[in-house]
Amino acid sequence: SAVISQKPSRDICQRGTSLTIQCQVDSQVTMMFWYRQQPGQSLTLIATANQGSEATYESGFVIDKFPISRPNLTFSTLTVSNMSPEDSSIYLCSVGMASGGWETQYFGPGTRLLVL
């Protein structure tokens, strides 16, 4: 398993501004993921961030809105740009770790974002 921390844990932001969320892992991992979770809803994958390559975005998410950095094997950031109230959500990073030949995911505590 892995210990994952996220900063900030929560924030209240004004529309039109941007917020950068940091994700730190206590071990080196190849695969990191960013998810969004609306309250009471399931997890929606935003993008996969592998070190040494460009992030891969899922349908409905674009780099201009959610730029991601992955400078090394223990750290990643997700920026939510030009925020609107619709961006209010919980943002979770996760890491993929090998288990029985397959990858399982371990999640950070999440960042709770409210956009006014």
Binding site: S1, G40, Q41, S42, L43, L45, T48, E58, L92, S94, S99, G100, G101, W102, E103, T104, Q105, Y106, F107, G108, P109, G110
Partner: protein
């Protein structure tokens, strides 16, 4: 694309009663995983099933993977208040991304 459906969406039980959540995929899965998210918490990995017809147990929790590898279930025997939370299944088709079900939110009357 791959879809993972989970039912029921909500389940309320009396403490001591059993609980089951079901997961169905539109496609054959290479593996299925189960996660638990406590209220206010983040998803925590519980288990992974890989083989057709596989059954795994963790204390009062029993996980099954269907013969066709398109469905799965989680059964909790004699629920306790510590079982409260949302249970997500997540399926993977070949080496593609993990797709999460909508989750089943379990509440328990002590």
């Amino acid at each position: 694309g791959q879809q993972v459906m989970q039912i029921p969406q909500y389940q309320h039980v009396q403490e001591g009663e059993d609980f089951t959540t079901y997961c169905n995929s539109s496609t054959t899965l290479s593996n299925i995983q189960w996660y638990k998210q406590r209220p206010g918490g983040h998803p925590v990995f519980l288990i992974q099933l890989v083989k057709s017809g596989e059954v795994k147990k963790q204390k009062r929790l029993t996980f099954q993977f269907g013969e066709a590898k398109k469905n799965s279930s989680l059964h909790i025997t004699a629920t306790q208040t510590t079982d409260v939370g949302t249970y997500f299944c997540a399926g993977r088709e070949r080496a593609q991304k993990l797709v999460f079900g909508q989750g089943t939110r379990l509440t328990i009357n002590p």
